[in-house]
């Protein structure tokens, strides 16, 4: 029972943070702010959901793969966001400022 409640809580948290990330990617003004929301909230959303999946699978050898996935996403997602933001900077895209709408 406790495990079920924990699964529900983690799933709700994961869906919420992914929703925030989707809204951020859709609504924020330029690529740098979008990279910020994508790397932070998306990593958190994916992480919480994967914890829920690991709890749902229970104590098995395959659950190790879920934790590998978790660690992998925690490392690669911010790195990819950094690479994208760096590429945008090298392309010469100016950061958004409050004055230009």
């Amino acid at each position: 029972m406790l495990v079920s409640v924990a699964i529900v809580v983690f799933l709700a948290g994961g869906v919420f943070f992914t929703f925030v990330s989707a809204v951020g990617v859709l609504r924020l003004p330029d690529v740098y702010t979008r990279a910020h929301t994508a790397s932070q909230t998306d990593t958190l959303g994916a992480g919480l959901t994967l914890v829920a999946v690991a709890l749902a699978l229970g104590l098995e050898t395959t659950t190790i793969k879920t934790f590998l996935l978790l660690i992998f996403i925690f490392i690669t997602n911010p790195t990819a966001a950094h690479a994208i933001a760096r590429a945008a900077y090298e392309e010469g895209i100016e950061p958004w400022e409050e004055t230009d709408d």
């Binding site: 029972m1 079920s4 409640v5 699964i7 529900v8 799933l11 994961g14 869906v15 992914t18 929703f19 990330s21 989707a22 990617v25 859709l26 690529v31 979008r34 990279a35 994508a38 998306d42 990593t43 959303g45 994916a46 959901t49 994967l50 829920a52 999946v53 749902a56 699978l57 098995e60 395959t62 793969k65 879920t66 590998l68 996935l69 992998f72 996403i73 690669t76 997602n77 790195t79 990819a80 966001a81 950094h82 690479a83 994208i84 933001a85 760096r86 590429a87 945008a88 090298e90 392309e91 895209i93």
Partner: protein, 91 residues
């Protein structure tokens, strides 16, 4: 008892809907980097959907595919970033 399987599948459906929403940014742009970023978010969503399906349908081999996806997602994002910049050096 809380129906865990239904919840996991429902969460997977929500994630697909969010992926469709993020697709707007991938189509709209305006820059290539925006599109790559949207595809990166989509890829992370894909990994999570696969993990949810693995738990809901009780097919643990889907987790292997999720691992390959996670690798590939990172690779494609870095590769496109590198190819679009002339001077290289995105890392």
């Amino acid at each position: 008892m809380i129906p865990t399987t239904g919840l996991l599948l429902g969460a997977a459906a929500v994630f697909v809907v969010l992926a469709i929403a993020v697709l707007y940014r991938a189509v709209r742009g305006p820059t290539t980097q925006d599109r790559v970023l949207a595809i990166n978010v989509l890829g992370t969503n894909t990994v999570v959907i696969l993990a949810l399906l693995a738990a809901a349908l009780d097919v643990p081999s889907f987790l292997d595919i999720a691992l390959v996806y996670a690798l590939l997602n990172f690779l494609v994002a870095v590769a496109i970033s590198k190819f679009t910049v002339d001077r290289g050096g995105v890392m």
